[in-house]
């Protein structure tokens, strides 16, 4: 009776769990990318998190929010690794700033690039809160659970993140190839118009 294998024989639950886990992989990759800023490190992180989720499947209750559960695992994994490699963090930061724009698409709109850069200027806890709520589709309550903090804290982080992002984009408050990006907001507005197919 040493391992969970004996206590939990392969079951249809496992199959259901795996099916659901597979559908979450793309989302785990995206969240990991926003945390690490580096595509390779992000996939390593997402794979570790996926493995951890699989190993811990006995403690997951089917029918509850598996996406939030796996995001929480991934986030915990990220921060515990980060603590372990504290001296590496300076390098990681530089790498993130260099490679965040890891899209092999020369046509990639400038506006996205600007937003990526501006996101990097946010404090980590604001960035993750904004990503979870603003892009990941989580409710404030779910994001709070994932981050292990109060709902009010998430709300204020998201709100501060939104304000800071807008200010950065309007002011061009970061350097880009030596020159500040003053037209970032205009580019984003133009892009948004195009995407929403608005007609003039």
């Amino acid at each position: 009776m040493s391992k969970s294998g004996a206590a939990k024989p392969p079951s249809s639950d496992d199959e259901g769990f795996k099916r659901e886990l597979v559908t979450l992989i793309p989302h785990l990759r995206a969240f990991a990318r926003t945390l690490t800023g580096d595509p390779t490190a992000a996939d390593d992180l997402a794979q570790d998190a996926m493995m951890k989720a699989w190993d811990a499947r006995a403690s997951y209750q089917m029918g509850t929010n598996m996406k939030a559960w796996t995001f929480m695992i991934l986030r915990n994994q990220f921060y515990s690794e980060k603590r372990r490699s504290w001296r590496q963090s300076q390098l990681d930061q530089e790498a993130a700033e260099r490679t965040l724009v890891a899209v092999d698409d020369p046509e990639a709109p400038v506006a996205l690039d600007e937003l990526r850069q501006a996101l990097r200027t946010l404090p980590e806890e604001q960035r993750e809160a904004l990503i979870l709520v603003g892009a990941g589709g989580f409710a404030y309550e779910e994001a709070a659970e994932i981050c292990g903090c109060a709902v009010g804290t998430v709300k204020s982080r998201v709100s501060r993140a939104r304000k800071a992002l807008l200010a950065t984009l309007e002011r061009g408050g970061y350097e880009r190839d030596g020159k500040s990006a003053g037209d970032a907001m205009r580019a984003i507005l133009g892009e948004a118009d195009r995407l929403s197919g608005r007609q003039g």
Partner: protein
């Protein structure tokens, strides 16, 4: 169902009434700020979805397949 819709309409009407009481330039600034946040929100989702829509590298599925094998051949 129908009741909910009516109530939703009332809220919208009230919002419009509030808007009318504001000075036009305030209203303009408010609308502008709303537009900007909306645009940023849209971009943010786009940024995230870009990765979500990437094909999943084989390594991920390989890991799960291997996890199956190590679990044993007692199926």
């Amino acid at each position: 169902m129908g009741e909910g819709e009516i109530r939703g309409g009332d809220v919208r009407l009230m919002a419009n009434e509030n808007d009318k009481r504001r000075k036009p330039e305030d209203l303009h600034a408010l609308e502008e700020a709303r537009l900007r946040q909306q645009a940023i929100g849209m971009k943010l989702r786009h940024l995230f979805d870009e990765v979500v829509n990437e094909p999943v590298p084989d390594a991920f599925l390989d890991i799960l397949r291997r996890a199956d094998e190590t679990r044993g051949s007692d199926a």
